[in-house]
């Protein structure tokens, strides 16, 4: 079946250092879109990055990710973590819509990132 795996539940990094959150997937879909969502405390999850193009780097708010279909990965990275980056991050996969327009979304279990001074 289709699934998304985020291997780390908790990540702690020192401010100013690089951070990488891992995301791998299994899917039978040929056409897929990938998302990184970020959820700050007591707020709604919001989309951080979206990509459907293999081997193309996508960037937003200092974060970047590249979809690699060859390794089934869409890792999230930032070169210099900030205190304000502390949040819960979800990786998600979306397959193509069905005839009824139904989209399957598959979410990882989330990675809680804490940036310390």
């Amino acid at each position: 079946g289709d699934s998304v795996t985020q291997t780390e539940g908790l990540v702690t990094v020192t401010e100013g250092l690089p951070v990488k959150l891992n995301c791998t997937y299994q899917t039978t879909y040929l056409t897929i879109a990938f998302f990184w969502y970020v959820q700050y405390l007591n707020e709604a999850p919001q989309v951080l990055l979206r990509s459907s193009t293999d081997n193309k780097r996508t960037e937003h708010q200092g974060f970047h990710a590249t979809l690699h279909k060859s390794s089934s990965s869409f890792h999230l990275q930032k070169s210099s973590a900030q205190l304000s980056d502390s949040a819960l991050y979800y990786c998600a996969l979306s397959g193509p819509p069905s005839n009824t327009g139904y989209q399957n979304f598959y979410f990882g279990k989330g990675t809680s990132l804490t940036v310390i001074p």
């Binding site: 709604a44 999850p45 989309v47 819509p97 009824t100 327009g101 139904y102 989209q103 979410f107 279990k109």
Partner: protein, 114 residues
């Protein structure tokens, strides 16, 4: 655009009581999803509406959970006879129905069952 609006933000119920959660999707979005969020399970899919019609409720615990979308501007999730294990954050999300479009989430309702 106010985004997806969920009310109430917090709800406390006693065991065995009923809880109704409300969601107002983004205007023009015809797809509405409900998810349950817990630390252990992350985001669990509950149910999906398209153009107000229920399409998939495979994630809903059958006996006590129900969802409706009586009009395009709101959806409700009702939990009867709430149990402590129902305590979670319930998230509503909406999107346009087109190829692999982005989900927009509300801030959620935190349900605490005592």
């Amino acid at each position: 655009n106010a985004g997806v609006i969920q009310t109430p933000r917090h709800k406390v119920t006693g065991k065995g009581q009923e809880a109704t959660l409300w969601c107002e999707p983004i205007s023009g979005h015809s797809a509405v999803f409900w998810y349950r969020q817990t630390i252990v399970q992350g985001l669990e899919f509950l149910t999906y509406f398209r153009n107000q019609a229920p399409i998939d409720d495979s994630g809903m615990p059958k006996e006590r959970f129900s969802a409706q979308m009586p009009n395009q501007s709101h959806s409700t999730l009702k939990i009867q006879s709430t149990q402590p294990q129902d305590s979670a954050v319930y998230l509503c999300a909406s999107s346009l129905v087109c190829s692999q479009n982005t989900l927009y989430f509300g801030a959620g309702t935190r349900l605490s069952v005592l």
